[in-house]
Subunit: 336 residues, 4 copies
Amino acid sequence: MPVFAWKGESEQDFWWCIDQCVSSESWQPNMILDDGGDATHLLLKRYPAASNLIKGIVEESVTGVHRLYQLSKAGKLTVPAMNVNDSVTKTKFDNLYCPRETIVDALKRTTDVMLGGKQVLICGYGEVGKGCAAALKGVGAIVYVTEIDPICALQCCMDGFKVVTINDVIRQADILITATGNKDVVIREHMDRMKTGAIICNMGHSNTEIDVQSLRTPDLTWEKVRSQVDSIVWPDGKRISLLAEGRLVNLSCSAIPSFVVSITATTQALALIELFNAPSGRYKSDVYLLPKKMDEYVASLHLPTFDAHLTELTDEQAKYMGLQKTGPFKPQYYRY
Amino acid sequence: MPVFAWKGESEQDFWWCIDQCVSSESWQPNMILDDGGDATHLLLKRYPAASNLIKGIVEESVTGVHRLYQLSKAGKLTVPAMNVNDSVTKTKFDNLYCPRETIVDALKRTTDVMLGGKQVLICGYGEVGKGCAAALKGVGAIVYVTEIDPICALQCCMDGFKVVTINDVIRQADILITATGNKDVVIREHMDRMKTGAIICNMGHSNTEIDVQSLRTPDLTWEKVRSQVDSIVWPDGKRISLLAEGRLVNLSCSAIPSFVVSITATTQALALIELFNAPSGRYKSDVYLLPKKMDEYVASLHLPTFDAHLTELTDEQAKYMGLQKTGPFKPQYYRY
Amino acid sequence: MPVFAWKGESEQDFWWCIDQCVSSESWQPNMILDDGGDATHLLLKRYPAASNLIKGIVEESVTGVHRLYQLSKAGKLTVPAMNVNDSVTKTKFDNLYCPRETIVDALKRTTDVMLGGKQVLICGYGEVGKGCAAALKGVGAIVYVTEIDPICALQCCMDGFKVVTINDVIRQADILITATGNKDVVIREHMDRMKTGAIICNMGHSNTEIDVQSLRTPDLTWEKVRSQVDSIVWPDGKRISLLAEGRLVNLSCSAIPSFVVSITATTQALALIELFNAPSGRYKSDVYLLPKKMDEYVASLHLPTFDAHLTELTDEQAKYMGLQKTGPFKPQYYRY
Amino acid sequence: MPVFAWKGESEQDFWWCIDQCVSSESWQPNMILDDGGDATHLLLKRYPAASNLIKGIVEESVTGVHRLYQLSKAGKLTVPAMNVNDSVTKTKFDNLYCPRETIVDALKRTTDVMLGGKQVLICGYGEVGKGCAAALKGVGAIVYVTEIDPICALQCCMDGFKVVTINDVIRQADILITATGNKDVVIREHMDRMKTGAIICNMGHSNTEIDVQSLRTPDLTWEKVRSQVDSIVWPDGKRISLLAEGRLVNLSCSAIPSFVVSITATTQALALIELFNAPSGRYKSDVYLLPKKMDEYVASLHLPTFDAHLTELTDEQAKYMGLQKTGPFKPQYYRY
């Protein structure tokens, strides 16, 4: 299996690599496993002949899934596609536990900062924000949260965190973490008011959440402390540490646990197998959510790691609940 | 507004009360707010004329919602119905935080038991089990969990609880709590092996989870310790405390926080208003989930209790996210 | 064994009861087990003949111990006395875990308040404050703490609680708990600024911490909500709930776990036995701390409750550590 | 100020360095700040003339303090010495919070292991064990503890951890951490029974706790995974990761927070100043504990980091408590 990728690719390199993947003369892809939708896009658009031989697409990113739904709506999706981004084993594991395992690690590896008693402001209380907040509370930090969605805000209150606006606490925050999926959440005006020694990093989406560009002005001096750590110096001597230049700090400065990767990869592999093996007619040229039963299967494959022992329903219990003894155990809309 | 209900109703009383509600000569209901589906059932079946004047049904229980979907499937639902049981503000607040607030309270009020260091077995890690486990961990108990669903089991592991079968730990458990929604989860055979002084109670569904009937045998003696607490004595002198005769221990022996009730009641009220005011044609004779925007509105009404301050999207941010600034903020399938 | 005590004793009754205990014609006490030092005081002062037959005094309260040290200093202590108040199994169990087990219980039984997301101000971060803070954090409250001692304040920060002055947060506090051992910690001026619906209670010392007297003014109305709960109404309609009229809320409104009582009672019993059996000369007429080995013995007697299994030192390990294999395992000044 | 030390010193180098410190011709030390007692030992023994000019010794290690007490007992201590090892700001901060901040960090930096749901066995529940247990519970690990001291074991139970013997859980442990201060706590026999993939490390004392020597046998293969990480391979293919060859894993593989170092260093500096400035006669040639007031002063200097605001006693309150308004606030034996 040839691989086309290297660290430090340019944009041009990036597209060349994708092109190599889908258009090699020596092989013919029959399934696409994509993360972002770029391979899908290129193949469908530029190689219509090859795309006719594709039996299915598996996509795991928010962006890629969004594109697939648009294609489907426009009637331009010509093969079945599986949205694994919204499977439970993705949204409630990768998105929640991975940040919980990595945020403290990323902060420690880059700054060696003590976290007990530190005032931390987390922007966003989705799965990522929830994971970060739990981890930081666990090491004795005092956590504040900003939210736009009243439901997540109410969860946040019940979980014991104060819901504030950035302006309420920006002057006292020791550490600021973005986890919103949005852009310009932290802007120059905020950073101008932070105290010296504060640390800023992003756990959310791409490199858009912190307006890093606004820090590249002549009055501020950037000092590289070490790889992935810049100390920005204000004219009055104030210093703020910016991690990974605003890119995802856990991908840049920590290590994603292989267990979490395994869950997501297993989900993708099962989705590929399902689409490839499905009898003709089971899937049309549309976007599908992973069948609940496969989600459950992925989870069950990972339980032995924990010496976990499942309980089996008796026949009477299964009947009483209206369930098959082998699952699925929950309706499709169950939230976990 | 006449109310027909009293504590200690017989089954016959119960149906008489419902009949009074729907069939009074002096008034004519035009909306049904139901919890379990019995009023709905009676009206539709026995008072077809009156049911023609009903503009909508709001139902908040699992059972009632199940019946509505069956009616709809059978083409027998003649009015629009709103399933508020599956709104976020119900499933992720009432089901999760209410047990977290009440399980310790119920155990303390009935038994004055110290919880630090106690070994607690919780059957089920749905929302109710999650709430109980979090509360008991918070007071220093050692928590074990049983599960049938591998996804919930995996969450349980990641949350730091050992997933076991009942038989693995039944001999060492100090407290056993059921939270499965199923029947015969704890049977005589299990209780025969528990140690003296153990406490058994149910936080789940009805009074079916513990096989209480199996304890009513001549070889066991029941001693009433106080209201809602029975000490069951085995021939060898072993004693087990059974709370509320296996009925929901938090409803029987604790107090549900008014805040949680307020969230659910607000949801119901909004659903009634929506169905009543909706322009003709917006809802057909089918079962609907509460619109996400109403869920968010219910949450926003409860934030001032916590001095919580929401952040507002800028125009650019809303556009970037493809959202209205006033919500809804998440897709319908978002899990929270 | 005759007992002289009843609920609702007057001050006069109280002294009559103590007098009966120490001066009965039909018996002659030879040991004193005291909690507060009043029996000791009466016997030594009023019954010198009887006090000559006393072989030892065991005292478990701060106040009583204080009096004994004063007697000793003044050369007026005529028998050996054991200070069990400062044994580890008292200060680090009774003082810490008992509040942790009872504060939430006391709040729930009296007010049914939901604790998730509530802002709680605890005055004092000694053992009692630490126990309350841990319990309330465990149920999702947001905890603030006041302290006079910089060491306890620093512990508090590291444990993840914000150290404030009362004035910093009094307007936003939902619940105010005193745990200082001091007097007039919460005064009228503070309560005038609290928000309506707030709850005030005392977990510390006697009934001195909250200036309850300052609330008995003509402009405020007291409404008895239920036993141990008063609603104080301000002229503008603001209401504050005062629990147990400022007396210890866990003693008044909760139930002390029998396990904690057992630890303390065992300590007292062992101290009595030690003083009674000690060969002449081991103890002089002075105040002694409980020997470390007895503290360890008390702890070891309570481990089976938890299925806890101790590890035993090998001969080599004991030698390496300079310890006896049977303990004591720590120097007298070890802090645990 | 000349410094004599480098990474990777031999034993001989080590003593040469110390000799240079105390015997330089170009300077004359008048105070000793020691960590382990080696400089003190060398100076007193080999340079009696120089030692006569020493005004005081400050020692911060268990071992060094032990030696000083022995010298004092033997009447051979010729200068006043301060035991800062047993100051509160050392035992309850450095010993407790430093492990809490560093154990997860050390495990992540060396092995990238996911900690959620992992079964961790900690040997010892002193301050170090308490810190490790709290940190690991905070990230979702399931923690078991071994103890020899029944008091610490009882604390452990009340804190929600199961007290076991190594043999009870060695087969299921994913991670084993020693924190006892003892030797041969983990021996070959234990490691032979651990499961493949398990991780072993030491947070306690020197490199004695794990019998590393017992792993250097011909049947086992050592593979260096990276700096400070060895994979030991059993004949059947089982692999165990040993961190830092059994030396202190947080010193070897993590970074001690500068804040914790600051607390300890400040304590040492104040002790030096006190001994140097003390009027003749205040200290004799004996070992002294740091005065409580200095401990409090060290703490107060570190509170601004947390925006912590101390409360000041009123005159009446100070009088009621029998305290000076400026402290000390607790008796010498107070445990915190």
